[in-house]
């Protein structure tokens, strides 16, 4: 885990052929905005995800970072077909998901699971832990009651909970323990790919670290691929092999973790990294002096700026930025893919 850029050998025996586990190509998702009045009609569209493309290999973690409203969670859900994408293609093990329906989709969902952000809202308080974890097993006809029971015990042990607690209700557990139940539920069917939608942001720091370690160990043991959606850049840095930075529905920069964090090319990545406070007084005082403080807020996704979507807050913006949207491609001699006309390496302390 020292270099982080290469894909970890998958322990779960996932395929090692050249095709990536997941291929997302030019994904779009927009939601209609309905106006008031007697006859509601669509007055505009929220362009939540705007032309997102990336690959994910088996056993790899891609961190998807961005501020609230940048479309990170929608991307995760559109990949799992929880939101039907407006256009674009999502291929899982070479099979196109966007056109899949009914049984086929249900079948393939065994391999793709999600862990939700809020462990208080994502578990039914009237269900016992037993039922919560058994649900996916029953739906997918895992086996006899005894087999399901054995699997539940195994899962609880894996996520660090006492199997004797399986008859308790979700409200009897603390936030961190609930998130572990959510993880156990996601792992029940032995998935290959898990979307982690802000899995630790609702937890206290000390509890959060335990869940981060657990996710890391699970990936190592089970060869899982993660799409790790988060706004906390330090957690993403800790867990990801590659990082994709999202702004207003589009990816602005993608690349290996080390490069993104040490030599970002896109001004937004640079500003984002520079804004994160680090828990080290001496370094933080130094960083504060050189901090890039962006003005303003993220624009509305109903009326995104023309051309480059970041230009309204960018200190490098020129005329071309308003007319021409920059492509996500290699710029200069960096390995990173950056969507900026004036991408330039800048070391961030």
């Amino acid at each position: 885990m020292s270099t982080g850029t290469e894909t970890r050998p998958a322990a779960g025996g996932a395929d090692t052929t050249g095709t990536p586990l997941l291929q997302v190509n030019d994904l779009f998702k927009s939601f209609p905005v309905r106006g008031g009045g007697i006859i509601p009609r669509t007055v505009g569209h929220v362009q939540a995800v705007h032309g997102v493309s990336f690959d994910l290999a088996a056993g790899e973690t891609l961190g998807l970072v961005g501020e609230s409203g940048s479309g990170k969670s929608t991307t995760g859900r559109a990949i799992l077909q929880l939101h039907k994408p407006t256009s674009g293609s999502v291929k899982f093990e070479g099979k196109e998901l966007t056109t899949m329906r009914g049984r086929d989709l249900q079948q393939i969902r065994r391999d793709m699971q999600i862990v939700f952000q809020d462990p208080y809202a994502s578990l039914d308080p009237r269900w016992q832990v037993n039922d919560i974890i058994a649900e996916p097993l029953r739906i997918h006809r895992y086996g006899t009651t005894e087999k399901i029971q054995a699997r539940i015990n195994e899962l609880l042990q894996i996520v660090g909970l006492n199997p004797e607690h399986r008859n308790r209700y979700a409200h009897e557990f603390s936030g961190g323990q609930r998130q572990r139940i959510g993880i156990a539920r996601a792992l029940a069917l032995n998935p290959k790919f898990v979307v982690l939608d802000e899995p630790v942001s609702a937890l206290d720091v000390s509890v959060q670290a335990g869940v981060v370690n657990l996710l890391e160990e699970l990936q190592h043991e089970l060869g899982l691929a993660y799409l790790f959606v988060a706004h906390d850049l330090s957690v993403v840095r800790h867990l990801s092999h590659r990082v994709a930075v999202m702004y207003l529905g589009s990816l602005v920069e993608v690349g290996p973790r080390e490069l993104i964090y040490s030599k970002p090319m896109h001004p937004y990545t640079q500003a984002l990294l520079s804004a994160v406070p680090v828990p080290d007084p001496k370094r933080e005082r130094e960083r504060q002096r050189n901090r890039i403080v962006l003005t303003g807020d993220i624009p509305s996704p109903v009326n995104p700026p023309s051309g480059c979507r970041f230009r309204t807050r960018c200190w490098k913006a020129q005329e071309i930025c308003a007319t021409e949207a920059p492509e996500l491609k290699k710029r200069g001699d960096s390995e990173l893919l950056s969507a900026c006309h004036f991408a330039e390496e800048m070391p961030v302390a």
């Binding site: 335990g210 828990p279 080290d280």
Partner: protein, 379 residues
């Protein structure tokens, strides 16, 4: 502010503050024996996890606790005692001497009044001026917190502001009466990092301009590292470590602080595992006997279960205090964060429970263990 006196007389002196809430399940010990002093222009950071008593203690200072709360101890503002004052007697101080910035800018403004109206109202509470003068003051306060076009924005309603802008309005409201002490309760938790940077910068600039003292309540150790002078770490309602920010971050002398620092993913720890604290914070109704942190502490010894440690001076520095019987032993470890290392898969028993009998021996062995596993992971 009455005047800009440059004496070393503390503005605010809190001593032995205790807050309890009687409930059906028993007495909740929300704050226990909290003491600190605050001088003009000083920034005090209060860190701790949810339920550690951070917010309750600040509510107690402002006299905003519900009537059922039992408050004991002393809160003195410029030598005047604030505990025991009635709600109305406190109005003289609230906003004028001590003001507060709340966590959630979405809910702390009234949606049916314009921003300017709400700011002017806060000013009129403490000043006998015309409404027009109060409005002018409101516009000035908006300008001070960096809101563009303040005269136009003052006529708008809170829903017309973005999250970051709303938090600026809340800050403007907190400073409009020129208070001596500003209590900021998680002022940036609901905001994005780029906006957080703007807000923290604004707060520090206001501190420089008005020399108000700031109490910064947060769970984000990064925020604390950058902007405060002194820091207090709270756990289970009481201060467990206090000192200058450099002392506490560089030479933590309380295992809880070590665990908290080890839980934060830091770039310098890339490739290493985080070292979280096992278990969960104790219930404030049934506190463990002795030290409140003992059930989760890797350095726990029999004495920890017998008595709650007092605040010791750690390492001779008068300002560096720790509530730990074994702070001296902790100082002996080169990398104390490793004490917290444990496996998550299949982990059930908290490490601490295994260490009670013979703390020294097992900890050493465990240290050697974790070193090996790390090497394995790296290879």
């Amino acid at each position: 502010m009455t005047n800009g006196i440059e004496t070393n007389e503390p503005l605010l002196r809190v001593s032995d503050l205790t807050v309890e809430f009687p409930t059906e399940d028993g007495v909740v010990h929300a704050v226990r024996d909290l003491s600190f002093e605050l001088k003009p222009g000083e920034v005090l950071g209060v860190v701790g996890e949810s339920g550690s008593g951070k917010s309750v203690s600040s509510m107690a200072i402002l006299g905003l606790l519900p009537k059922t709360a039992r408050v004991a101890g002393s809160i003195a503002y410029r030598g005047e005692e604030l505990t025991g004052l009635s709600y109305n007697e406190m109005r003289k101080y609230r906003g004028n001497a001590i003001s507060m910035i709340f966590q959630d800018p979405m809910t702390s403004l009234n949606p049916v009044f314009t921003v300017g109206h709400q700011l002017a109202e806060a000013y009129l509470e403490h000043h006998k001026v015309s409404k027009k003068a109060a409005w002018a003051k409101a516009v000035e306060a908006l300008e001070q917190v960096g809101i563009p076009q303040p005269d136009r924005r003052a006529k708008q309603f809170p829903h017309e502001f973005s999250g970051g802008m709303r938090q600026r309005v809340v800050i403007a409201m907190a400073i409009i009466n020129d208070p001596d002490v500003i209590i900021a309760d998680e002022p940036t938790t609901a905001l994005d990092v780029t906006v957080q940077a703007q807000i923290l910068e604004t707060l520090l600039r206001i501190r420089d301009e008005t020399s108000a003292a700031i109490i910064m309540i947060t769970h984000d150790l990064g925020v604390v590292a950058g902007m405060v002078d002194k820091v207090q770490v709270m756990y289970a309602g009481t201060v467990v470590e206090a000192g200058t920010v450099d002392e506490v971050f560089d030479l933590p002398r309380m295992p809880y602080t070590v665990g908290l620092l080890g839980s934060n993913p830091d770039p310098s720890l890339i490739g290493e595992r985080l070292t979280p604290i096992s278990g969960a914070p104790p219930s404030l109704v049934n506190l463990p006997s002795g030290c409140a942190f003992s059930p989760r502490c890797p350095l726990v010894a029999p004495v920890c279960h017998e008595s709650e440690p007092e605040l010791y001076e750690a390492g001779g520095a008068v300002s560096h205090l720790t509530r730990c019987h074994r702070w001296n032993d902790l100082a002996g470890y080169e990398n104390p964060k490793k004490l917290f290392a444990h496996k998550e898969i299949g982990a059930e028993e908290p490490l601490a429970a295994l260490l009670i009998d013979n703390p020294e021996a097992v900890v050493e062995e465990h240290l050697a263990d974790s070193g090996d596993t790390e090497k394995e992971a790296a290879s």
